[in-house]
Assembly symmetry: D2
Homo-oligomer: 383 residues x 4
């Protein structure tokens, strides 16, 4: 086992929940060690959060710019940085690290606007650093299994792709009740044009895309803000048309009581169907047409190689969200180590995360446009 | 217990599966006795089927017209007739019985065309008979429970109504492989303009309508025939807008491997959500916002009066499809007996099934129109 | 279809719930018509109940003896009688009908004492009537499937047989709160020596026996009456040893909150395992060793012939408790019709229900004996 | 956050699966850093494994004794050691560290014999180190919730405690097929007198004990070795009597096809019941008597303080086996830090893990004794 990669973090201070998740994910397989941080946009909070996490005083920074500048000069400076800020800061923060050759692991969505997303692409093209987007749900072993089965043509040509990501935590106007997570997520200035569609709809879209490999052609969307006074959508209904003729529906909501993080994928082809739910991630239903349904289990009989490759425990000893997230980090470590040996980084490798990220921003932008145009079909590639 | 009502049947001969279901449903609570039949459109089959069912020879008819004419004249003639033919025959058959004062229990959808549906309305208005549409899924006890909970405002104002009815039996071109059920269902001449959307989409729509009481304003639909050569849709994606602002999605499919009769309803309001699945009909999930989910069971603790009223067995002794169907028949018997005592029948009572039926035909017609117009929103009330 | 068989009923009056179940089960497939009744041990209630059910006045009897005598003399008298009284009356009632050649369909357990059970055997041997015990849970299609799979050696030699039947309706002292069903079931004079073990433990045992065909050798039991003052057991733990070396556990309880009629069977052999639950009876889990689990569904892909033979509706249209019960009646009708053509009835056919019934009474008697002897192993065949 | 605690490990080399689990668990919350190891009983393998894990060469030891001696002398030597060897080595290894004041975190069961267990107690009493037994399943948040609910008397006095731990990986003679995990687990010299009952039965017993706090009085067991030639039990049926009158059953098996790590707990009291399954650990069913069942979720509405205290992610983002295991380590870290400030360690704190461990060995020893005595009741406290 190589020495762990030195990691910095921007955002993720005391108040934020996602920062802790990234830290555990980075540490879980021993591939990263948190070495530096600019953990809040308020300098005092940033310093206090660094101290609380046990960071060295001289590696705790009041601002991300201070951190980027100094760490880039240090002999044992960070090799990668995790960006876990609100969406609108992704680009300005990432830019400063990328241009100094520090690899970036960035929370999704890529940016809050499509124009920022395109600037991000330019920045990455010019740099010598990797840009990795943490679409964490793609790290679940049974998602890898589903992807492998579809790639192997187990289901035949796909016909329907149904995906949903449903929550209930914004059923009431939480943003007016002092819930910090709700405040920035419902604020167009910090989240961008999409509410639920940006926050979780992009996860759902990305997951369907990752698993099927099918390219979306166009979509028709109907977005709502059910909670009075809410400025961004909290519910979205989307119909989808994929290149080649497959069709789909996507539903995302943050106002559906009884749903915590109900991300669910159902895919049907000529020869069979599969079904997966994030809340019970160790299972994958596989229904070959004309034969009994099978319940595939992580690390169980019938698990695919690609699923086993990202599994840690025996079947029946469930893995969860943190393990899936850790797979993203551990694969990032592998990519970073590979790159270390072979610079300059080929453009297609550098751009992988960017392209995925831009597609996500296109998706949410197209949804917003379609909804404004009374659900007219909007091509993903013309927004 | 009164004497059972004498029932005739049109359609439902040896080859048909739905006829047997209607016969059991009619008999289960002892409210009807099958007395006469014109069980097939082929006279020889009609006679053979009557014999196989043990009908008296003189009550077995080669054609429905023979049956209508003679039974209407008999002193102990049938009081009601069950129509279980393909859709395009619903109107011509029903007309002959209605105008002779024989009550009609008719399979859904009402007719294969909207114009037939309107003629049916005229016929009922002029007659002295009840017209009952067998939307059997509304007979499930936990569906009654859901309806009562929503009527009682347990969920608050509704926001999202998600419904789906998914099957897989047409995944392959069954209509070309000699499956009789598939043949007429995929034939526009016998089914009408809708395939899956007419056959099961109308069930899904009707169920949502029945449970919520919410009136649909408009819809945007995307219909497909995934199986090459199929003449009617086998998959439909629909977005819905209800009067008052609630939104919904409806998915129906007959090409989704792993689904038998997966009719599922999820409804969310300001204060809570519910979820029900036809394949596990004795359960109803109820999620009050901010409190743990509850699993309500038929005849169990927390069962509503309206659910108990249509239950026969104690909790944990499951009831199923036939019992739900029998509830429709038993309620029909109750209505028929009530009417017997008080003719002329008030128009609103006579038209109840008709209005529901016309709405169903409007729904499927609007879906087909919207899909042809590239998923433009179509008002249900202007087709 | 032949004319329905004329059926009488003893017990099952207005207050009783199981009578209504038997009546629906008898009627569901149109094989029986209720013609006569002695519906209560109180003559007035008996007459009132008959009237409420629409029985002819001259076929409604104040006592079962009156009914047996007169019906046996009538030219169109009943051909079979359903006995749905408390356990202690099974023998005295059945005797009067059997000896007059009227077939008996009797609720389980066979009798309240082993000595009555043996007298019942003598009576059946001497008569020219069938004796059928309504172990209704054996009528479920997926139970037939399980039986067929085991008979076909799909699981290999069996190793473990785990069965439980768990309820909660006696968690509180219902017998002191005026619950009629609780009163007789907790009364040794009417129920016999077993409480829960007799009422539902025998069902569980019978189901395991029916499905596996394995013969029990001995058992060790620990019975409790958890509710203060209760005179019969309300919870039983049993370890079982089968001939040939298979082992098992049986748990039955009527004081386990959260359980309605949770009858569950899990069976494991050298090559695979199966699992079935009465509350979700349309499913059967099949786990071939070393391969993914399969969810077999009633009338679905992979359903066995013996399961399809007792199915009425397509897969995904659930059947339930009443349909399973009706299968017992419909098979009884078949047996009765077969016998009509070929008397005298061969002894082994006549005794089938009796032997099963005696084994059930042996089982509960052995459990009570073992429990009294501090859970010593007791041979089923030496009680 | 304090500096992580320096941890050594004995066992857990390249071939072992449980070592990796302990390492992730130790690292997950950042509370431990693996610093030294004697990772195999074969010195060469030990050195190779240390290198593969990235341990410093001078902290990689050929034998545990070398490690204990040298680390105890180092200024920055390990503060704690994790023992993940086969059972028979627990005592000889632990002894060497305990007596040098190095805290021990030891895999269960405590030892392979009761006499070793008692020697372990003596060693701990004499030392100034903590002894912690990693009964990892007690670390699941919803297990903490269950414990809190029972302690709060939510269920009332308990009546039945049903627990099972069922696997299928020894269905075939894996020990003869070169499966290393199977070899030592089925070898009396390394495992002790219990097979499945020691390996997983003790987990099940411990979990029931932990959650209920009820003390077992006696048990009656029936153990089998179903696989021909197997020297230890692979299936055990146990009836249990608790002090105060509660009763229970325990089933553990390693030959039940279709079960991976199916550890399940069902507990019933006068007022309600709960149910939990290790394979779906984020859920806890709670059934208050006479009211609908509730599905409590980790970090969801209705989660108890003690459950939230050991949760890391929001509800619906599942945690799993490694997180539960990490809770044991993180609590060990807390205990170790607390002790650092206040030596000598009070005896009751030192002995907590030991007492739990001895009870586990008593349990399995009593099961083996009872089974040998034809399932006679054996007091846990007299073995």
């Amino acid at each position: 086992m190589s020495d762990p990669i030195k990691l910095g973090m921007v955002g993720g201070g005391n108040d934020a929940s996602i920062g802790a998740v990234h830290r555990i994910a980075a540490r879980l397989d021993g591939e990263f060690v948190l070495t530096a941080g600019a953990l809040s946009s308020t300098p005092e909070k940033a310093m206090a959060s660094g101290k609380a996490l046990g960071l060295a005083a001289d590696r705790t920074y009041p601002t991300f710019l201070d951190m980027a500048k100094r760490e880039a000069r240090l002999k044992d400076g960070i090799e990668a940085v995790a960006i876990v800020t609100p969406n609108h800061l992704h680009y300005p923060v990432a830019r400063e690290f990328i241009k100094r050759g520090i690899h970036v692991i960035c929370d999704k969505p890529l940016t809050s606007t499509l124009s920022d997303a395109k600037k991000m692409e330019v920045a990455v093209r010019k740099s010598d650093a990797l840009f990795i987007l943490s679409h964490n749900y793609t790290g679940y072993p049974m998602i890898r299994q589903a992807k492998e089965m579809i790639a192997d043509d187990t289901l035949g040509n796909l016909r329907m792709i149904q995906v949903e990501y449903v929550q209930d935590w914004l059923t009431e106007p939480a943003e007016e009740l002092g819930v910090k997570q709700a405040e920035w997520r419902t604020d167009p200035a910090r989240s961008g044009v999409g509410g639920a569609i940006g926050d979780i709809g992009t996860h759902a879209y990305n997951l369907a895309r990752f698993v099927t490999g099918y390219k979306l052609d166009s979509l028709a969307a109907d977005l709502d803000s059910f909670v009075p006074g809410r400025r961004l959508d909290d519910n979205a209904h989307v119909m989808m048309r994929f290149e080649g003729g497959a069709k789909g529906m996507l539903w995302c909501s943050q106002v559906a009581p009884g749903n915590e993080n109900n991300l669910r994928l159902r895919i049907f082809g000529e020869n069979g169907g599969i079904e997966w739910s994030q809340e019970d991630p160790n299972y994958l239903w596989y229904s070959p047409y004309g034969a009994p349904k099978q319940l595939l289990t992580r690390a169980g009989s019938g698990a695919a190689d690609s699923a086993n490759a990202v599994s840690r425990t025996p079947g029946g000893h469930p893995e969860g969200y943190l393990e899936g997230f850790a797979n993203i980090y551990t694969e990032a470590a592998k990519a970073i180590r590979a790159v270390g040996a072979a610079k300059p980084i080929p453009t297609d490798i550098k751009l992988q995360g960017i392209e995925e990220g831009i597609e996500g921003v296109r998706f949410l932008t197209a949804c917003v446009q379609s909804s404004k145009r009374n659900s007219a079909w909007v091509s993903l590639w013309q927004v």
